[in-house]
Amino acid sequence: MTQAPERRSGELTAREMLRWTWRQLTSMRTALVLLLLLALGAVPGSIIPQSGVDSLAVSRWKDAHPSLTPVYEKLDLFSVYDSVWFSAIYLLLVLSLVGCIVPRLFVYAKAMRALPPAAPRNLTRLPDSAGYRTDEDADAVLARAREVLAKRYRLRPAAEGDGFVAGERGRLREAGNLLFHLSVLIVLAGFGVGALYGFEGGVVIIQQSKQCPDCGTFSNTLSQYDDFDPGGLFTPDQLNPFSFTVQDFGVDWLKSGDRAGQARGFDAKIAYRQGTDGAEQHYDLKVNHPLSIGDTDVFLIGHGYAPVLTIRDGHGDVAWSGPTAFLPQDQSFLSFGVIKARTAKPGEIGLEGLFYPTFEVIDGNPVTVFPEDLKPALSMLVYTGDLGLDDGSAQSVYVLDKDNATQVMKADGRPFRLDIEPGQTVKLPDGLGSVTFDGVQPWVRVQISQSPGKDVALAGVVLALIGLCGSLFVRPRRVWVRARPVDDEDGVDTGGRTLVEVAVLDRSGNHEVDEVVRDIVEQLQGQGQDSSPEHSQEHA
């Protein structure tokens, strides 16, 4: 026979331990600490660049802080809001919320069926109460009290010999509170669905033109995107079939004043078709005015210039002709770009350099003085030889692979620079061919995304707000009126034979109810004929 292990004080069995942990987790105090942790945990993400927000800033930061980078990476500080520790905080918070709310739901359901509680024995001990004497009958006072209170309170049904009236109001406060907390779960669900099933992708589209009738088109398939960021459970068949063409793009530049050069009124005129053979529809795509096609939204988020060039090789054959998107470097729209003529003979031709929308030479330096393409010019360096275009590996269209290429030099041995304006044709040295600058086309960057669950999240927040208002502004209150006959003490007339007591309890603890008490007393007395208000007294 084994002896039961002796338990020291404070020792818990596994089950008790579990229950203790659950109690701790679902306590208000823990919820509060978790809330503050959540706030604290969100801070690093606002200081350290986040890869989900700006991956370029992240790589710049990493270059600048080589020693800190591994530490930060280990702590997930470049993607705080997806990190294990941040998720742990909010998951614990959700758990704590559920653990707190579910039992309260049951309590509330029970309370919904319960009657307003009976009057405490001694009403005048409550902090907000009053009493007065009257010559009226106790029953008459109570009958009137029922009438007065029924307007604003739910009353406890009268029972024989009660001697009091009990009322309650504001039970919706707790309902609002519960609704608020449950809505937080709805919001999280909506947010989660968006993160799992949503996607966003971007594409640069050069405006359609006579020179380039094939430009400007996009059809919604994966291969057409420049960059694509799907959620974890995304499947390509979510892409609704549609296509559109950017037919025209215009910018309204401010030409005078302090903000000259600021752009406004971006307007991309697009024609789109739903499905593969839908009717053509037109839309003015603007900032703040996305186009919705099915579940998919199309946004205009950027623009730039695409110089149109024709490159002829040494044999006089056209090796490249068309527009190439250049990337703006800053607000001046000084743009950087690369053009690759793969089929050029005798050697491939690569151009790399800058586009100036409004070119001027100031103090010997080439600059652009205005972001609109008023006087465009290109200034590029030329490379030839093997540009790595044929080895089949992926290559960015914005980077020139110069590893195996040679820079084209002038006769004097200095680098050859191709400075060219629209309409000009410049011959390249060494019989490589010639370059013609045909003109400039605008391009737009379009973001295409699906955010499933956004309506759920929005509905959740709206419900949360409604619940919040309920929990903050509904004033839960209990009120009691008691009337009973009293004898004059020691034969001294104390003003009446019935003692009426009124008490109000504010259950939220945030409001002063002495005025409510006064109001009820006044109503009770105002309608009675022979009450003696001069004997009313208040306990504040």
Partner: protein, 334 residues
Amino acid sequence: MSNAAWETLSNQAVGAAGIVYFLALLAHLAEWASLRQPKGTEKRVAVGSAGLAEVAPAPTTRETERAEFLGRLGFLLTVIAAVAHAVSLVGRGMAGDPNRVPWGNMYEFTLTGSCLVTVMYLVLYRRLRLSWMAPLVLGFVLTVLMAARLWLYEPVAPLTEALNSYWLMIHVTAAIIATGAFTLGGIASAVYLVKMRAQSRLPEGAELTGFLARVPTLDGLDRVAYRVHAFAFPVWTFAVLITGPIWAHQAWSRYWNWDPKEVWAFITWVVYAGYLHARATAGWKGRNAALLALLGVATLWWNFIGVNFFAGNNSQHSYADRPPAVVGPYDVRG
């Protein structure tokens, strides 16, 4: 009136508002000063106010009357200053071409935000008996107004394209109203903490004197703070978690982007949610809740001013000269 005239009017109105705020502050300070009594008389006043006033009028009736007059004068001057303040906002809006709401940059946000603090104080003056708050509110608004004029001033300029939406009106109005209310609540909580500390340091039986004696009781301060916060929190929720994401979705294609401004607005929201929780949690009531309210107001103003300066380049909410065109290198497989 030409746009330039409207802009001049706005600038002059800011100056006028500043001067009148200062006069109002002086009036209220004089009110407080006239209530300070030498020790002997103070006792008698205390007796008088305890219920014997009608039996034996306190010898300080004249001083009380003067104090009341100065208080009314201060209130009146504050109203005048608020009107001038509002005129400066109208001027800013009319000076824009086309006319627009006056919150397109930091200077205008600050101007509108501080105006809202005053307006809210005036609206709640009677209801919450805020006369004790006068010098604090005026001091705060005056400081913010001067700081805005000195360091944040910018000439009237057209809105950047992303701001050019009716959501600017809804989202920013709600955010500014909430900011004004949170600030008032923060002032009440700060006074709560100061008074609590002063009371705990008093020797047994002694009573507070001066300013702290005239502010409401700790419970009263706590209640005022709560009621103002309880108003501000849903408004902030509306601004930050409803209209903000809707607009963000339209303008930037993502309804929540973890942009620094969004992160800090969220942090503010969480801290104030914590405040409301704390008031219902044993051990956190009173002092800790008030500390949370101050933390909340700190994150709020940090977001309003700090984030714009320190995270300006990372934030899409940065209202510096930045084109809404978002450009960056993106790889194209080819």
